[in-house]
Symmetry: D4
Subunit: 194 residues, 8 copies
Amino acid sequence: MLSNRLRQIQRQSIRAFNSEAKIWNVYLSGEIHSDWRSVIAEGLQKKNLPVRLTSPNLIHEDSDDCGAIILGMQEERPSWDRLGARMNDIRNKTLLSQADIVVVRFGDKYRQWNAAFDAGYAAALGKPLITLHPPEISHMLKEVNASANVVCEEPEQVVQTLAYVILGELPTTPKDGDRFVPIADRLGKGNPNP
Amino acid sequence: MLSNRLRQIQRQSIRAFNSEAKIWNVYLSGEIHSDWRSVIAEGLQKKNLPVRLTSPNLIHEDSDDCGAIILGMQEERPSWDRLGARMNDIRNKTLLSQADIVVVRFGDKYRQWNAAFDAGYAAALGKPLITLHPPEISHMLKEVNASANVVCEEPEQVVQTLAYVILGELPTTPKDGDRFVPIADRLGKGNPNP
Amino acid sequence: MLSNRLRQIQRQSIRAFNSEAKIWNVYLSGEIHSDWRSVIAEGLQKKNLPVRLTSPNLIHEDSDDCGAIILGMQEERPSWDRLGARMNDIRNKTLLSQADIVVVRFGDKYRQWNAAFDAGYAAALGKPLITLHPPEISHMLKEVNASANVVCEEPEQVVQTLAYVILGELPTTPKDGDRFVPIADRLGKGNPNP
Amino acid sequence: MLSNRLRQIQRQSIRAFNSEAKIWNVYLSGEIHSDWRSVIAEGLQKKNLPVRLTSPNLIHEDSDDCGAIILGMQEERPSWDRLGARMNDIRNKTLLSQADIVVVRFGDKYRQWNAAFDAGYAAALGKPLITLHPPEISHMLKEVNASANVVCEEPEQVVQTLAYVILGELPTTPKDGDRFVPIADRLGKGNPNP
Amino acid sequence: MLSNRLRQIQRQSIRAFNSEAKIWNVYLSGEIHSDWRSVIAEGLQKKNLPVRLTSPNLIHEDSDDCGAIILGMQEERPSWDRLGARMNDIRNKTLLSQADIVVVRFGDKYRQWNAAFDAGYAAALGKPLITLHPPEISHMLKEVNASANVVCEEPEQVVQTLAYVILGELPTTPKDGDRFVPIADRLGKGNPNP
Amino acid sequence: MLSNRLRQIQRQSIRAFNSEAKIWNVYLSGEIHSDWRSVIAEGLQKKNLPVRLTSPNLIHEDSDDCGAIILGMQEERPSWDRLGARMNDIRNKTLLSQADIVVVRFGDKYRQWNAAFDAGYAAALGKPLITLHPPEISHMLKEVNASANVVCEEPEQVVQTLAYVILGELPTTPKDGDRFVPIADRLGKGNPNP
Amino acid sequence: MLSNRLRQIQRQSIRAFNSEAKIWNVYLSGEIHSDWRSVIAEGLQKKNLPVRLTSPNLIHEDSDDCGAIILGMQEERPSWDRLGARMNDIRNKTLLSQADIVVVRFGDKYRQWNAAFDAGYAAALGKPLITLHPPEISHMLKEVNASANVVCEEPEQVVQTLAYVILGELPTTPKDGDRFVPIADRLGKGNPNP
Amino acid sequence: MLSNRLRQIQRQSIRAFNSEAKIWNVYLSGEIHSDWRSVIAEGLQKKNLPVRLTSPNLIHEDSDDCGAIILGMQEERPSWDRLGARMNDIRNKTLLSQADIVVVRFGDKYRQWNAAFDAGYAAALGKPLITLHPPEISHMLKEVNASANVVCEEPEQVVQTLAYVILGELPTTPKDGDRFVPIADRLGKGNPNP
């Protein structure tokens, strides 16, 4: 692992041309039943990354009832739901459309069709897409992941990805730990003089 | 129901300015485990509607294995899946992007994240969207339906919607049967001289 | 008026580079209570112009009730209206978006907000816009007309405009009849050597 | 109503991931004969919402005469009107195109075709649209409302909608007052584990 | 003229909803042989308008020779010219594309094809366009002016137009001086209750 | 010149992958006082090229008076001109926007600001641009030519360019006649093994 | 391999909803020193696929000298090259921009920067991209391949990909021959009830 | 050279209308084995130019291994490479798409297909493109250079180009030194009164 530590030093001295001046807008879409957004927010804060996080409204009841509270109740569920969903839509599509990067989280519970909808919406707009989900459900997500730039299993990997994308910073410990071997060591230099 | 039959006659005599000359491209996305596409295809054929139907590849095994068969197998599932999904992507996104109308079917089984993804993709492209699903799952689909033009429960309603959109033809029997009362009869003319 | 007749002859011999091969799609939006669409359709047919006319559904009751007939009735008027309007939307926005030219008719009765809405939609898409209305209401339409290419008072002028735009054909009798004097005769050649 | 108050508390503690850092540009289009814009402006100020309001020029005489005053009078009304309307157009289309949200107000007096035109323009640009009008004229506005995200009756509802969209804040008193029952209480949880 | 002064007072008290917070980017294209840009710059400064002016490089010799000086001389004139013009292109198209408003000045000397080119470029991008030229050459500019929002004869009118567009401020003395009569006085209110 | 004749034979046998199936739409903009359009039309016909030519209306008087004839005369020249120019605009911008290639002709007489305007419009739309003008005025056109793909002096060169672009056909006699030496003969192969 | 043959039969009976009616435009970019385009053309013809192939001009000398032959020789190589390259650009960018699918071939000889340029151009336009190259140079192409839908080693795989994309037809012999095992057999069904 | 010095003085007094207020975003793509980026960065700093430089990640090993370090190692090189390249893609395409100007450097070693890919991507987005390479490889780059605004041989020329584009500042010593003669002196004024 020595080579990794050496690289880390090298990185710290060659941070020219990174884009620290830019604030990156990152939209966090999808599952609202676990604390993955907080894990990402804390990770970014620890690393002091220039990121502005946005998300849909996270209070499930409010996102269901907002329309009925402000505009009045509806007799039938589809009308009730539509009233609220169209109101949430203002926030969600505006923030999503103005994001630099869209992160979409899928869990193994619930159908989360809105998460997949947001992923499709982001893909059609050409937004860089990061998906985040447990590996067990990857086959069901193959079409979504085929449009993603990065597929993460843990929120920490999202933070690491953002740190690398924005500052070029890589984690000191690779995911595979001591088993990690750089590609050049393993398979040789890949870019021979033409 | 007399007034309905009278209207039907009136319709048949005022078909000017409909767009019969145009072939409408309709992309049928989503669930592949029931025969909803055939129901729509037969319905359109009976009515002789100028519609060209397209869809993703409907053979589940082929859409899983196409990449591995043509390009070679992959060790890990995510790589295997990605190879196939990216190949399917060529067909799906091309046909979806060139469609006039996108119909997305959700069933009560399976997660069908690709259906929701396609709906989001279509919405971001500004395509008219028709969703088709049993009413029991409407709340889970509220964000998707909020971007839809029409929400159908049965494939026959998709055919009726296309017949109306393209030719102005309405079914002789309304969904609510004899209980149906035109809005003007029920609530009065809605468009008073200003 | 001799000069006018001479010009007419000249025109007939210089029809090179016109765009007869192209079918022009023209969307006729707005008022549905008078026969202006038929006047235009007959005028185009007499001149044998390569135009394909489209329009929204013209049967008022159907455009109100289509959603309720196909999808079921709604308790409240706004839900009833929304169901139908979103269904009509598929036809209207598709045909409008695919038109080469959009004609919007305003009458002196009714508010016709949908006509003005279509005009704004067409303007934002950069479509050439022709408005058609009696001169008495021109002040109320000043913002709409400010985005129009041509403002007509009579449907015959729409036909004449299309004949000129597509074939370069001008009416043998100018609107101002014998009082008409070509600009060059009246004010001199306007394009002096640089 | 206890549950409502509890929710209010919950909201105040979970304001992470709202987009307070963003200034939302909101364009207020339409009727200029009542004080609805001031009501909205004051409501936003009270809630200290990060909103920048813009509007067309609100002095009717100036918007009629601006072209004639700066560029000179015109003989005929259509030319006079066009001169002014094209000048107003610079302001209106620039601010509308750069808005995050467009609010359009319709009154029961006057035709307000420019309001409907702006709504169509906003819809074609994909802007979130909020309409504001008395319920009596809703049928005449059905095509416009079909493209709207939210349809309000009172300017206070626009303020409440913006507060919810931007901060997730909902009014302590629902529109239907004590009769209000959350959807989950009324119809059960809508999102069963798949 | 009393009514004019009264209006002026009214204006000063109703400046809500103007867009003072926004900096307007205005690109000044065209003729470089007179001081029209300075006249505009000074006029804007006097009125303290929130405008950022940009322009192409104004030193004729530099815009001709920039390529040859930095990249080396070329044997033939077309190559020499192309080298410089492509370099100027970076500045011009970037600033023009990022402008809110494009002003193009035509003089009665020189051909100024680049001015007309910029006007066409701006029109295709949907930029509000203000042309500025002596009335004598208006016929030659009819196609260009047909895409313009405002056609000015004097640079002062450009300043007045920007003051009106941005702040709603109109000149105390109309162009036609005491002969000026508001349209409502001359032709009656144009917007009768429908 | 032997090598040239050999190449010609080689070309005739390797016409695979040309795009003969495609009809190329070519818009001919600019000067209307010489027969350059006919020269191009005849040249294309001789070579049987799959090209559909379009152009603005070529009868100067009609393009000046069309608005006044159909819609009525205007008192002032700018209004008269605007009426006509906006009507011509429908044809010109539609055909220009739908063209594959735009050819713009400049002559040494007249200002032809509309030609330069069309060139700018085409450039902003990303259309391939061919300019055609006598070499004497090339410096005045440097900004326009900097956005052109090909700069021709004679209409025959436009025909030759189209024949080459579409079919790969090159003239048997190079412009420089017997003095022509292929680049590979003159300066050596330019593409060494990497 | 029985299961494969069974699947083949199944495929032949379920060809509904394929897009045979559509002609697919496929642009073949890149290396011109081997016969890969002919291999693809013949493969497509054998399978009778509805594909229209286009390509850049394939005669190297002509693509170098076209500008000099039609427009005249240039003293310096960069000017000579530019003249020709800008002329080729008309064909290449037009056909590439109008393609449904872009195939880019890289060989192990020559630098072929134009191939990589075309790939980047296609990626920015959102075109489905198929790359074709020997596996030895894959590391050097990693950024290009990261934007590709499919990475082929042999032209036959391009034909197979197109047959699958357009008709759903898969080769009877998988690339890995008898070693091939469908993913469902190998790793289990991937899409459990939700 | 006197005239050059005089021009320099003239320039310093006519800096109105330059765009100093604007920060120009410049993306530096391509070769990472020499210090060209530092030469440009230092040159810009000396001249105090309002430029924000961005670039891809410059540590070759990190850009190869980032995906494997964060997400885990892959068995096969193409999968390994794809994982990293898609991660780098987030940074590269975001910064490139948000740049005002894109500079692409090609060296005589290595194939640098990603540099050509970036150039094509930038060209399709309509970004002003500056290429930087030794003159020996210009023929191989002819298609790329045909889309470039400026072709430089040395990084200092990039700095000089940016200084001219942004501030109108030209180097005191032309590239051709004392041999330099302004075009007007050499070939006469090029822009005769029309």
